[in-house]
Symmetry: C2
């Protein structure tokens, strides 16, 4: 591996491990089971707000939260043959209860299509009950053989949001995939996470799906990370599980399904994409603390008293604003140390307030994203602070999108594609004839993985040729070094 | 078993199964793994509000939420010998990843003292960091050999709230147990769940604890259910896991711990204790829908329009009140059927509104707990509805406490105790010398289980004798038919 490429990936990896530890987000590498870690209190609060956002967006569109058992009997898991083939190598099996061997092996769910479809066969009998949209947010388990990484490739994925929907026909399931895409856009937009949406190639779709649409983002080292997927499942699960519904004309048919998922990677991406050398930079919507007030020590008792009263005023205003704030009045820690800690944790806004500010009735606002400081009058706080938080959210999103766009390159030859991937990583997009054979050849020649094609045929490939076979391009194909 | 006793327990059991299904709370008995079921959308919303209540109460007292891995390596689980002895018979073991056998067996956590203490040995180094209070809300697994029952005795307990705290000395851990008791009282009081608090006898404390305090309630069939426990763990876990802290005098010592837990049984009890023949009766604090508006159909178009406008007014008021409401305007379902459904689901207040009410600008309020109906003017709604919800909460709590108190009987002889248990179930309390031998003898003679003793020596046993050995009573002992 050329030194340059190695540096990229090692630096990001090291930085990411560092920030998870320094900001007390996720304790990884010390727990004595590979690929499993601990959500620490601060990280848990970030995770919790991400989860709440996901819930709000899904609930609003009529999704109903449920909770299914973790354990799936082997017989259920084996009912859909493509599905089990896809997961067989990475399922954890429970074989004993107490000292007794179990009659039937139980899988730790790798995903829940089988158990949920099984229950749907009892619950759903008529088109009148449809569409029905369930979801749960749970741990799933995959005995990964690839190198594990905190929050990016875990063996216990602790924040798996899986939605499972049932429909009367193919078209309605198709529409549901489109809805899922819109919902995920909203979630990622709120978090300032940029994405590329691709229809995965046939040879890389979800095990048991008719087709898979995926969201990918580009990590700071230029590799892509899959951050969300939506699958049209057709009748692939409802047939073996016999989810038969009565149709308007009173005939019986198998129902149609979709499923779509998000994971811990959403939190990983929020931290990885926005962060900098000083640590995390959190979008206000998920920041456990949006504003931290750091007092600058006073020199004498009189000053100290005045400062305390002044901080009281500030606190009252923050409370009324309804922002999540913390007054860091630890006596034995110097302001510089506090700045360092809160910067590492990614608190969006720091308010510095000392004797001078108390005297002039001003406040110093330091924003975490650009590190800029502004002095404002205390009377402006109610107006300026919400604006500032909004501006931070907007500017994080913009910066991240600019970064992503700079990492997507359209090229027309294999040589150019290889060069881009070799030198800059990111995503290359080429004209494509649509044939698997040429896609696989490209993967090999460029030494990268296929992400898939845009949902609609892009204008720019018109008149272009597949760089492998020279046939007319019907769409484009995207490749990248993938996580 | 005498017919009477059999009837009690069967009727409650059947009623409970029925209400879980009819109100769509928890689907049990159809999932193909024994002792595991599905939280349905409506039940999930009840559970979610119970969880939120628990979080609020814990967070307020400085508890920090975390999330630990589900899987605990056998070596960790075996480090505290009493502990593993207590759980060995009921641990589920993961032995394979994919098709490979694992190097070391992994337990599905039965509880997390071992994994959490293991990590605390990295995190906690000094008395200055103490006390530290962690908690998580997770699934735990027990391969139960007793008969399983939905939400009462499960093999996957899906709502296990386990708190784990670390302290500088015995006394501070002691105080923490007292705090836990106060917190649990608050949670149960909010839910209207009555309880008896007992110090469990030595022979029935938590595996690895110095002592255990437990909350029990009496179910409608007269059997008691353990609904919460708090344990003083001493240094039993910190010694084998080497959680050593620096003390103020710079010496090193092992830290002290407590742990305390709640489970799905909290939700089970809310439903079991307050319910009636028509179904669940939910305290407003956890009711997913607090008020349902059921329109009574109009006869002509003009009436219908007026009624619609009127319902619009009602809805606006409900929205401004911030209550959780639903307008049940399904066209193809008759009001009687709607009443039945919402009663089964335990919605605290039903508002009936038809052409007559629209004309007289009145509303009929039906309360779920007493089934009483009142007619009020629409202008009184903002005042009367919150009062009514509060009154329902208060009255459910009172009724439940009266029931519990009627089921606790103080007696002085074994014969009386046996009679009470035989005829009425509930809890019997006898004077006791405090010796294990007499406690065990009582269990046998009365054919009931020991719950333990009050936290403080009760006044009424003064001058009384242990009914087994005739020695002076130093406290009382409680026995019951236990779940």
């Amino acid at each position: 591996m050329p030194a340059e490429r190695k540096r990229w990936s090692q630096e990001f990896s090291r930085w990411f491990d560092w920030v998870l530890e320094e900001a007390e987000i996720y304790d990884y590498g010390r727990y004595p089971v590979k690929g499993m870690g601990i959500w620490m209190p601060y990280g848990y609060q970030i995770r919790r707000r991400v989860v709440e956002l996901i819930r709000d967006v899904l609930d609003e569109k009529g999704h109903e939260e449920v909770l299914f058992p973790l354990l799936i009997p082997e017989t259920l898991l084996r009912k859909e043959s493509e599905h089990i083939r896809g997961f067989e190598g990475e399922v954890y099996w429970v074989t004993h209860g107490g000292t007794e061997p179990l009659d039937i092996k139980l899988a730790l769910r790798p995903t829940s299509e089988t158990s949920i479809t099984y229950m749907e066969s009892f619950w759903i009998k008529s088109y009148k009950q449809l569409p029905r949209k369930f979801y749960q947010i749970v741990s799933i388990f995959r005995y990964e053989t690839k190198a594990t990484r905190p929050l990016i490739r875990l063996r216990e994925v602790t924040t798996f949001k899986e939605a499972h929907t049932v429909h009367v026909d193919f078209e309605d399931a198709d529409r549901q995939v489109a809805e899922a895409i819109e919902l995920y856009k909203r979630i990622f937009d709120e978090l300032g996470i940029p994405y590329v949406i691709s229809r995965r190639p046939e040879w890389d779709k979800f095990a048991g799906a008719i087709y898979t649409v995926a969201f990918d983002t580009v990590m700071p080292d230029g590799r892509t990370l899959q951050i969300g997927t939506a699958h049209h499942l057709g009748q692939n699960f409802t047939i073996p599980f016999e989810v038969r519904i009565q149709l308007p004309d009173e005939s019986l048919d198998y129902a149609w399904q979709t499923s779509y998922g998000l994971s811990d990677r959403v939190v990983a991406t929020v931290i990885a994409i926005h962060g900098d050398d000083r640590g995390a930079v959190l979008p206000p919507i998920v920041a456990p603390i949006q504003v931290v007030v750091v007092p600058i020590p006073a020199r004498d008792e009189e000053q100290r008293k005045r400062l305390q009263d002044y901080i009281g005023e500030v606190e009252e205003k923050l409370r009324r604003l309804g922002v999540r704030y913390r007054i860091d009045d630890r006596e034995d820690v110097r302001p510089g140390r506090k700045f360092y800690e809160w910067e590492a944790r990614g608190v969006p806004v720091r308010i510095e307030v000392g004797p001078r500010e108390a005297e002039t009735r001003t406040l110093v606002l330091a924003r975490r994203d650009t590190l800029e400081k502004t002095t404002i009058s205390i009377d402006e706080l109610e107006k300026k602070l919400p604006e500032l938080l909004e501006d931070i959210a907007r500017s994080l999103r913009e910066r991240a999108w600019n970064w992503l766009q700079s990492k997507v390159k359209r090229v027309e030859t294999v040589e150019e594609a290889r060069c881009v991937i070799e030198e800059e990583r990111g995503i290359v997009e080429l004209p494509w004839c649509g044939r698997e054979e040429c896609g696989l050849r490209l993967e090999e020649s460029i030494d990268a993985g296929v992400l898939g094609s845009p949902l609609e045929r892009p204008e720019w490939v018109r008149g272009k040729q597949c760089p492998v076979c020279g046939q007319p391009a019907v769409t484009s194909i995207r490749l990248a070094k993938k996580y």
